[in-house]
Symmetry: C2
Subunit: 348 residues, 2 copies
C-alpha cells in the first residue's frame, strides 16, 4: 500500500519508484532524489515477500545440517565456525541463511528446496557418502541447482566442494610424531563414509611409508568421532603401550583424542610422558586438556566463507563459467582445498 503513496508523494509512477529503489535503468538525478526523499519521509520498506515472488528468487542460501541433538558426533565448534563463515559471506553478498536440519529418519530431498523456491543455492555440512545422499545430490546436480559441500567430497562426481587438505594435515601430524622420535604410531580414525576419514588414512599411511615404516594392522583403531568412542578404546591402547607395540597415537579429531587421553589417564598413563598424542581440528577442547593437545588446525571459518562465495558465484554464472581460480588455494576439479597447520602443544 505504501509504495503507491511513495509514488504519489514523489509525483512519479510506481514503476519509477521501483527503478530508483533498485537502482536499475536510466533515471534523472532529480527524480531519483525526489523518490528517495519521499521513501525516507514515509519510512517505506519494500515487502520482501513480494520482491522475492516477482523476482522468482528467495534470496536465501539453504544451510543443511545433520540434526543430531544431544548426540555430539560432530563438534559444535566445527559447525559454529563454518556457520559463522557462511553467515559473514552471505551477509556481505546480500543473502539470508535458511537453516535446515536434515531429518535422520527420512531420505533427503534437497532438490525440492529449489523446486519450491525456498532457496537459491545451498551448502551442505556433515554430508556422508551413503546411497540416499548420493541420489539426492545427483538429483540437485541434474536439475542444475547450485550447491556446495563442505568437508566431504565425492571424488568421481564433480560436485562443487570446499575441503581442507586432510592428507597434508595427517602427514604433518604423523611427520611430527616421527620427528619427535615416535615410531609406533597408532591411528584412531572415524568412519570411512566421510571422505575426511579416508584422506586422513591416506596421509597417515603415506607418511609412514615415506619413513619406511610398515604399519601394523593393530595400529588402526576405529571410532566414530565422539569422545566416548575414544574413551572406550583406552584399554586397547594401554595394552599396546604396555607391550611396547605402540608409543604414540594420531587421532582423527580432538574429541576422540581427548576421550582417549581421559581413558588412558584413568589407567595411569599420561600424554606427553608415557605416550604422545596428536588430535585434529584444533578445537577449543584442545586447549582445555592437560597437557594441552597438539592438533591440526583447520580453517573452518574460511571454509564457510569460501563455500558461500563459490556457490553464489555459480548461481550468478548460471553454472556456466568455469570454477574461478582463487589466489593461493589449491583446486582439484570442483574442489577447493584449503591449507591446514599444526599446533604443537604438550601432548607430543
Amino acid at each position: 500500500m505504501t509504495r503507491k503513496e511513495v509514488a504519489k508523494l514523489a509525483g512519479v509512477s510506481e514503476a519509477t519508484v521501483s527503478r530508483v529503489l533498485n537502482n536499475v535503468g536510466p533515471m534523472r538525478e532529480e527524480t531519483r532524489v525526489r523518490v528517495m526523499k519521499a521513501a525516507a519521509e514515509l519510512g517505506y520498506e519494500p515487502n520482501a515477500l513480494a520482491q522475492q515472488f516477482a523476482r522468482r528468487r528467495s534470496g536465501n542460501i539453504g544451510v543443511i545440517l545433520p540434526f543430531v541433538p544431544k548426540v555430539h558426533l560432530f563438534s559444535t565448534y566445527y559447525f559454529s565456525e563454518i556457520l559463522s563463515g557462511i553467515g559473514e559471506a552471505a551477509q556481505r553478498l546480500g543473502y539470508d541463511l535458511l537453516l535446515i536440519f536434515r531429518d535422520p529418519e527420512q531420505s533427503p530431498d534437497y532438490a525440492k528446496l529449489f523446486r519450491t523456491q525456498k532457496v537459491d543455492a545451498c551448502i551442505l555440512l556433515g554430508s556422508r557418502d551413503v546411497p540416499e545422499e548420493r541420489t539426492a545430490l545427483a538429483e540437485m546436480k541434474r536439475e542444475g541447482h547450485p550447491f556446495c559441500l563442505v568437508n566431504q567430497r565425492f571424488p568421481e562426481e564433480s560436485f562443487l566442494s570446499v575441503d581442507a587438505n586432510h592428507v597434508a594435515g595427517s602427514r604433518m601430524a604423523t611427520r611430527h610424531l616421527l620427528d619427535r622420535g615416535y615410531t609406533r604410531i597408532a591411528f584412531l580414525n572415524g568412519p570411512l563414509h566421510y571422505s575426511n576419514s579416508r584422506d586422513r588414512l591416506e596421509g597417515y599411511a603415506a607418511e609412514l611409508a615415506a619413513a619406511g615404516i610398515r604399519h601394523a594392522d593393530d595400529w588402526l583403531l576405529e571410532g566414530n568421532y565422539s569422545r566416548k568412542s575414544g574413551y572406550e578404546l583406552a584399554e586397547r591402547v594401554a595394552e599396546g603401550i604396555a607391550s611396547r607395540s605402540v608409543d604414540a597415537v594420531f587421532a582423527a579429531n580432538d574429541r576422540m583424542a581427548i576421550g582417549l587421553m581421559q581413558g588412558l589417564k584413568e589407567l595411569g598413563l599420561e600424554a606427553g610422558r608415557d605416550y604422545a598424542i596428536v588430535g585434529y581440528d584444533d578445537s577449543d577442547g584442545s586447549r582445555l586438556t592437560s597437557p594441552g593437545l597438539t592438533s591440526v588446525a583447520v580453517p573452518f571459518y574460511e571454509m564457510g566463507t569460501m563455500a558461500a562465495e563459490r556457490v553464489l558465484e555459480e548461481l550468478a554464472d548460471g553454472g556456466v563459467r568455469k570454477a574461478a581460480e582463487v589466489e593461493g588455494i589449491a583446486r582439484d576439479g570442483h574442489t577447493y582445498i584449503l591449507p591446514v597447520s599444526l599446533k604443537v602443544r604438550e601432548s607430543s
Copy 2:
C-alpha cells in the same frame, strides 16, 4: 505453470487444487483423491514464494545471534544446543529458521524484519541490556510483533522470554560448596548487562546470607565469560588462597572456570585439592578438564524448544490470549523459567 496442469488433469478448477492441497474448506472425497493423484502424477510442488506472498506470511522464524566470529565470548555449546532445540520445535510446527547475525557495528532494527515480512516471529539469543537493544525490542513490542528472548530478561518490560533459574542454580552451587565445608567462596561473575549475571549474583549472595556469611568485597571478581578472563584472574585468586581469605570459587560459566583452573594450575594450585571450584553450564568442557569440573546444568535444548513454542503460540493467538500455563514450569509474568541442576564432579 504446473498447478494449472494439475487442475486440468484432475478436471477441476485451480481453486479446488488449492483447497485440496491445503486441506481447507469442504470437499468431496472423490475430488480430493482425484486431485491428489493428479498432483502426485505430475510431481507437483507448490511454489513456496507464491504461497508466502499470497498468504502474507513467510513461514520463517528469525533467529538472531550475536555475530562474534572467532571471539568466543559465548560458548558454541550454548548456541548449538539452543539452536537445535528451536530447530526441532520449528520443524514440528511447520516453520523454517532464518538465521540472522546481528551486526555489532550497527544498532539493531528487528522490527524491520517484520515490516519487510522476512519473518513471522523471532527469537533472540545473546541479547544484552543496553539502550539500543531496549529501543529495538520496545519497537517490536509496540508494533505488535511476536518475539521471545532466551536467557535474558528485561524485568520491567513484559517481553516474552525463556530463561533458566539462575538464582536457584547459583544458590545450589554455593550451597554445595558450603556443604563441602568451604566458607570463603569467591565469585567470578560476568558483565551485569546480562540478567543472567545479575541472577547469579543474587543467588550467590542470598545463599551466603542464609548461611550467615558476610561476603568480603574482594571475593567478587569480574570476567567477561571468556576463558581468558578467567585465566587472567588466576594470580589474584592464588593470592587469596595463599592468604587463606579464599578457599573456593564459584564461576558464572564453565569457560571462565576452566581458564581460572588452568591459570591456578600453572601457579601450582590444583582444583579439588588446594581449592574447590564450581562452574556453570555443564558444557562439554566441564568433562574435559582434570579434575572434572562440578557445574550447574542448564537445559539449553529445552529452552530452545520452549522459546519456539511460546512465540509461535503468541503468533497464532495474535498476542491476544494470555501466556499459557505450561505444566511444571514456573512462570513469572511473561517469563518462563526452567529448572537447573547441579552436576558434581571432582573439582569440589
